[in-house]
Symmetry: C2
Subunit: 343 residues, 2 copies
DNA sequence: CGGCGCTACTAAACCGGTTTGAACGCGAAC
DNA sequence: GTTCGCGTTCAAACCGGTTTAGTAGCGCCG
């Protein structure tokens, strides 16, 4: 377990017969080193198996070569959410191509989240951060501005973020789902929403309302839930046991929709013959439940890549514009059909 | 965007009227500083809002205060796997309590994985690493030993890892599932396995075989799949269209089992009346499909916590024993029942 | 009164890079 | 023949901590 002694640029300098400074210049491709000398230095470095010490470089240029991401989720919920793993994978992919690292922090709630950012910034552990789950008048924005920390937000429409944002617009996906149902002939289209304090919860809900209005339909029932399977099942039960049952339900994510499918089975309601159902996220499972779920496809992996690129550019001092991501697309499967003729 | 100048111990020293060294000693609670002086120093530090520079400390004590985890998975598969998010959350929780960070790296395949570890170690970015998805005669073990890098493996039975291991044993879970089915009266119990080159794939398969033998049953059909919903559906189709159809299927994970459920529906085979089904992982959704899925509960969040604790202890130079995790437990739901009387 | 040992503290080296300022050698220009 | 300018290189400072060697002051003992 004795760690082998890593060679330093001092060793390289000695072998090449030059000074430390010359080595640094040569290795960084700076001008002012004669070509022959440069080669001798590079050869020396290679033969010694030299690799730069991350910590030394970090200290002298005062950069951490890392970016931070604080996740405010109870850990048991993380496993269920298909967004994070894919988003993080995308972020990571871009970062590692550029020699940067991702420093993750998982905290149980939004209060601890602020401390998380403060810790990351205070210790100089990261050069920039991502802001997820943006809220209206989000206190983190002021905090990061005060700390002078570059940030990229994953923002939803209508929320000025004060930082470059990855503009994710869920509305077209929801709109397409509602329109699809309207075209099939549905008129009572309910919604199972995510928590209102999450922007992607409330944006999807408002998009659903707007789509109903646009179709000339009256407002319909909405049940607020929590994006979990348990919550989706419970919300579905409420809707199906109501006086005037909807003929279609637009769910704010696949997990709730899939749970909803089995509640329908439980109530002896056939999907899609008596009830149409749409999800959101287009998780892999969506295509393999019964009936296969009509859903909205998003691409969190590429969001992660884009967000990381924007953040790195921002850290490098470039001016960065908001980045729009491609609109979410409806994937029609067998869980949607015309409403029953009666009713 | 001008980052505020962070105070250094030099500033603290000036304010407190002492030397840098004294400040360092006082802040680290070392003996040799008079109580009054210590207080003066602490007050000065507090009033200046001083926080230690991570990079400076990392350089002087040559520690990275971070541990590494290289994930060799195609990113699109990451979203589906319920293991990683929970495991990582657990790891992270323990790490952040101790001021350590997690450096993640996502690479597309096993070859790139080696380079990933080499990069992390070479740059001195991490003090230790986790080894997941251990394979037989895993080349990473030799690599890490050569690099002198502390590591903790997430190991399966019968694989000597040469490093402290978190011993995860899936066998009791599979055994319990098979025994449960045998007690219900099943005799043709098939298995949909994960890829053989993953240890948790082959271990679960062997446990299933062994459990059949122990119950005095003949070997039964196994279809090797890939842990994905698509693969699970395909495998189920093979089993259900075979000459002598099994009365029960033990799946190596929930995702494949849930996909299998809808293939059964598609074939007009009632679950559990005509076919019993068990999953593995006990994902949240398992309880909310129809019928609710009998599954095996594991606890990757706590595995993450334990693995992180072991790794930190190892890095601190303590001798660390293998850690056994509690046995996986069967959760019986409605997808299992006695086989149909005829047959 | 000199020497010893102890405590409290300072000064300086160190970690491994980057960056700055000055010096050196050499050819061209005056 | 000096001066100037340029390309090349070196020595030293610096980043912000930790750690070591050394010293001043003091009480105690012989």
């Amino acid at each position: 377990m004795t760690r082998p002694e890593r060679p330093t640029i001092r060793d390289v300098a000695r072998v090449a017969g030059v000074s430390k400074g010359a080595v640094s210049f040569a290795l960084n491709g700076r001008p002012g080193i004669a070509e022959g000398t440069r080669q001798r230095i590079l050869d020396a470095a290679r033969s010694l198996g030299w690799t730069p010490s991350h910590q030394a470089r970090a200290l002298s240029v005062s950069r951490a070569f890392a970016v931070g991401l604080v996740l405010a989720r109870p850990p048991e919920l993380l496993g269920a959410d298909p967004f994070f793993p894919a988003f993080i994978a995308g972020v990571e992919r871009t970062l590692s191509e550029r020699g940067q690292a991702l420093v993750l922090q998982v905290v149980p709630d939004a209060r601890a989240e602020q401390d998380g950012y403060r810790r990351l910034a205070g210790a100089g552990r990261v050069d920039g951060v991502f802001l997820l789950d943006l809220r209206v008048a989000d206190p983190r924005i002021a905090l990061l501005r005060e700390l002078g920390m570059p940030a990229v937000t994953i923002a939803r429409p209508d929320v000025p973020s004060d930082f470059p944002a990855l503009l994710v617009d869920d509305r077209p996906g929801i709109t397409a789902a509602v329109r699809h149902l309207v075209e099939l002939g549905h008129r009572r289209i309910a919604h199972v929403a995510g928590p209102a304090h999450f922007l992607h919860g409330s944006v999807r809900r408002r998009a659903w309302e707007q789509a109903l209005t646009d179709a000339g339909l009256p407002a319909s029932t909405v049940v607020e839930s929590d994006f979990s399977a348990a919550g989706g099942a419970q919300a579905t039960r409420v809707l199906l046991e109501a006086g005037e049952r909807p003929t279609a339900i637009v769910y704010a994510n696949d997990l709730m929709a899939i749970a909803g499918l089995s509640v329908a089975v439980e109530h002896g309601i056939a999907v899609p013959a008596q009830l149409s159902v749409t999800g959101f996220d287009n998780t892999e499972l969506a295509g393999y439940v019964s009936p296969p779920l009509t859903s909205v496809r998003t691409d969190p992996y590429h969001w992660g890549r884009s967000a990381a690129e924007a953040l790195l550019a921002l850290i490098d001092g470039e001016t960065v514009d908001d980045v729009a991501v491609p609109a979410a697309q409806l994937v029609v499967r067998a869980s949607t059909a015309p409403p029953p003729p009666t009713v």
